[in-house]
């Protein structure tokens, strides 16, 4: 096992190590706004996007309910941790609340999978959208558990060894650890028996069943794994914001996640992180380019252009550029 991990780590290309070092050094030249609102926030959105990429990229399943899994994990933190709303807020330790939140988000995602995997394509999008919408409205109308429209605020951040994890630098590194960990695990699992079987169900589910697999079990398990990633992102999100409300899991945000994953690229787990960075940059700075009412138009137009020129998203653009720079290299993956 250890030998395998060492071998895998030593097989990582130098460019990735350079990127990692740059990301570790990033907060030092950057101010708090760039460190947290751009850097860390991109990684959180990237993780939720990664949750969708695992399902869509490897499994061919588009789920609009991954943000909901993240949001439920955030609600669990508010309900079992400390909040300032005088509703629930059991004040449990973070060491219990965080794993519990991730477990609930994972279970929810697996449940969504259990319901949705009987369908495919546009029907799966519809079913997961319906689940996302119903959880959104339920949270908005239920005051006993979700505290209705207001949601929860004043959620305290954990302190690890006396360090406030909401402070810019610790939070940035916490998010970085989360992002790198799940990126690496996803890339590793891609080549495992389960990872290959999942990709096989994307290409040809009937054949997978004819090889002795349960296609349903593969898909539900993929939803559960994607749920772990989304729920972890949800915990990070609530540490960052200190609040969670129905708006956190709104359909508009769920669509943002879809845009992030598709624009970033579904062929490699790093895609959603690129998409999230582009999205966050545009969200913050499109206002500087055009007046406030129209900044969504700029975001939309920018993403249309990316998809128009590269169906594989930003990843595909990157691939095209590097192919042009190094034309001698023969492409190993063919275009489809």
């Amino acid at each position: 096992m250890i030998a395998g991990v060492v071998k895998t780590i030593s097989g990582v290309r130098p460019a990735w190590w350079v990127a990692l070092v740059l990301l570790i050094l990033f907060p030092f030249p950057a101010n708090d706004f760039f460190t947290v609102q751009i850097g860390a926030y991109s990684m959180i959105l990237g993780l939720i996007g990664l949750s969708l990429m695992i399902l869509a990229g490897y499994g061919g399943m588009v789920s609009l309910a991954q943000l909901t899994a993240a949001g439920l994990a955030a609600y669990v933190v508010a309900i079992f941790g400390v909040n300032s709303n005088d509703v629930l807020g059991f004040g449990w330790s973070w060491w219990i609340v965080a794993p519990l939140a991730i477990a609930v988000g994972t279970l929810f995602s697996a449940l969504v999978g259990l319901i949705a995997v009987r369908t495919s394509g546009i029907y799966m999008i519809m079913i997961t959208l319906a689940i996302a919408v119903s959880v959104f409205f339920f949270a908005r109308q239920n005051y006993e558990v979700f505290n209705g429209f207001t949601g929860y605020a004043g959620i305290t951040a954990p302190h690890i060894a006396g360090v406030d994890m909401r402070a810019p630098l610790p939070f940035y590194y916490l998010s970085l650890i989360g992002a790198v960990f799940f990126l690496a695990v996803t890339a590793f699992v891609e080549g495992s028996p389960f990872g290959l079987a999942l990709q096989a169900t994307r290409d040809n589910p009937r054949r997978v069943a004819a090889l002795g697999y349960s296609v349903t079990a593969i898909r539900v398990f993929a939803f559960a794994l994607a749920g772990v990633v989304a729920a972890t992102a949800g915990v990070l999100l609530v540490i960052l914001n200190g609040r969670v409300s129905p708006g956190t899991i709104g359909v508009d945000v769920a669509i943002d996640i879809l845009v992030i994953a598709v624009v970033g690229g579904l062929r490699h787990p790093v895609g959603p992180f690129l998409g999230a960075l582009a999205f966050v940059l545009l969200e913050n700075f499109a206002i500087d380019l055009i007046d406030r009412e129209r900044f969504n138009t700029v975001i939309g137009a920018a993403f249309l252009l990316v998809i128009f020129f590269s169906p594989d998203g930003l990843l595909g653009l990157w691939q095209k550029l590097s192919d042009r720079i190094k034309p001698i290299q023969t492409p190993t993956k063919s275009e489809h």
């Binding site: 096992m1 395998g4 895998t8 590793f188 699992v189 080549g191 495992s192 028996p193 389960f194 990872g195 290959l196 079987a197 990709q199 096989a200 994307r202 290409d203 040809n204 009937r206 054949r207 997978v208 069943a209 004819a210 090889l211 002795g212 697999y213 349960s214 079990a217 593969i218 398990f221 993956k333 063919s334 489809h336």
Partner: protein, 261 residues
């Protein structure tokens, strides 16, 4: 789950591999299979012939469990598998290939065969990468060799020629411990030399493993099989040796239809 061990497999000699008893399948008002009775011994090689729409592929789909039968029972080596889901039938040693190749186009030949080998072994859901000592890795290479694909192990399946995809289609079915095969038009669209290759591959299968082959090419079908079942409108209307079938006037009128040659 009971796994057939070597001993029970020895005892199956002379036993029926596949028995269909009054099997029918309706799609609404359409009767795709009507009262099919079929018994194939372990090690027997049977060809199923019939015109398009006779119900040959439907028969395969019913046997592998792609959809439930409307009436009737299916037994595999004596065990009633009528109610079992597809993957359980596969784990018991039933294998099939498809008329139109069903492969994983965005994976390599090696990965396709590896997935096939892992499907019928335990720890299908392992999240760890295969080690070089993983028997399935080795098995995948052997299967590539058996189906003449050793030179293309790391090519994406989507880039293979049609003939190579047909070979891989068979390679995928050979994974694990197969006990009986259903081949659905393996020669469809092959060139004459690829056909010869295919006959080689089928002929090299261990003698104790039987199969049913659907084949339009009489040359292939009659060369690799010992018995023939003729299907028409969802029924089996004649069974016999290849020679009997070839010379049967009714069959000639219906299927071989002298007019074409």
């Amino acid at each position: 789950m009971d796994r057939p061990d070597a001993l029970s497999r020895l005892q199956t000699a002379g036993q029926y591999a596949l028995e269909l008893e009054a099997v029918s399948r309706h799609f609404g008002a359409l009767v795709a299979l009507a009262d099919i009775n079929l018994a194939v011994k372990a090690g027997e090689r049977r060809a199923v012939l019939g015109s398009n729409g006779a119900g040959k592929t439907t028969l395969f789909n019913a046997v592998t469990g792609d959809f439930p039968v409307t009436t009737g029972r299916i037994r595999f080596f004596g065990e009633d598998i009528t109610e079992l889901p597809a993957q359980e039938r596969i784990r018991r040693g039933l294998r099939r290939t498809y008329q139109i190749s069903l492969l994983f186009e965005n994976l390599t030949v090696r990965q396709n065969l590896y997935v096939a080998c892992r499907g019928v072994s335990p720890r299908r859901f392992s999240l760890r990468r295969p080690s070089p000592s993983d028997p399935a890795t080795h098995m995948a290479e052997l299967l590539a060799q058996a189906t003449h694909l050793s030179d293309d192990l790391d090519r994406l399946v989507g880039t293979l020629s049609h003939g190579q995809q047909r070979q891989l289609e068979i390679g995928m079915a050979l994974a694990g411990a197969p006990r009986f095969f259903l081949f659905d038009e393996p020669a469809a669209g092959l060139s004459p030399s690829e056909r010869a290759d295919l006959i080689d591959i089928l002929g090299a299968l261990p003698a104790h493993i039987g199969f049913i082959i659907i084949e339009h090419d009489m040359d292939v079908a009659l060369r690799v099989s010992q018995g023939v079942s003729m299907m028409h409108n969802g029924r089996i209307f004649k069974e016999g040796t290849p020679a009997e079938i070839e010379n049967d006037p009714e069959v000639q009128a219906l299927y071989l239809g002298g007019a074409h040659d």
